[in-house]
Symmetry: C2
Subunit: 130 residues, 2 copies
DNA sequence: CGGAATCCCATGTGATACTG
DNA sequence: CAGTATCACATGGGATTCCG
């Protein structure tokens, strides 16, 4: 009892390749495991932002990657993109309800990362001496 | 109250590039956001495995990536590697306590992914028609 | 048995220039 | 303002071969 769900889930042996490709967990982690997605989700979780506002808010992100990452999140239904037809144009990005629902489990992982990040960094440094 | 931690955390504006690179959350997600890490963590969370045992347990993984991923997890202190000097040699991989402690927040994310994976898939398909 | 070495391709990411 | 187009480079990942 009290075993993490991910361990109690039954797995075929061997794990077939196509099943892994369809796995929603792997899928989500790859979606969110890139350089910018999490940061965008967090920023948009606080309030909606316009495109250039996000561009200014994140030092070092290129227009290309900002656009690509936003599009990816939008395609997956995590972020909404609203165009206000004005001159000059104005585009608002926001989290969808689905995206907002992701904030909580993401926070659980973030909390673990903050708490244990030091141990990981230490382990990494220790390997350098061997 | 009851706001996800990741939102209550204060962020500098703009977010500096070096701060993002040091962020333990981004770091963890990139560590675990590759093709094989999570699956290995889950398998090793059930019991320790030998190298070829893992190789046989995961259809489609190459020796190169199995070795690389295990090494990466080992360097980060999530997986332990124990060599039993015998003929032929035997190497046991297992989760460290740190790795085991990751299972629970990972499960939280996995649970979300299983519950909402369909919505993501639907959103993805819907984009194809536009 | 448990890898390492090499080669090759796909994808992620950034820089720069251009546009409705 | 909010992008797109193009090029270039680093990294992820697989196939194959070889080794103690």
């Amino acid at each position: 009892m009290d075993v993490p769900l991910v361990l109690s889930h039954r797995l075929p042996a061997p794990v077939p390749l196509d099943e892994l490709d369809e796995c929603p967990v792997s899928d989500l982690l790859r979606r969110v495991g890139d350089r910018w997605s999490v940061l965008l989700i967090v920023l948009l979780g606080r309030r909606s932002h316009r495109y250039n506002e996000l561009h200014r808010a994140i030092e070092g992100i290129s227009q290309r990657m900002l656009t690509r990452t936003l599009r990816g999140l939008e395609v997956d239904g995590l972020v909404s993109r609203t165009v206000h037809p004005s001159v000059p144009p104005s585009v608002e990005y926001d989290l969808t309800p689905l995206g907002r629902s992701l904030l909580r489990p993401l926070s659980a992982l973030a909390e673990w990362a903050v708490r244990h990040g030091g141990e990981i960094a230490d382990a990494r440094k220790a390997q350098l001496n061997t």
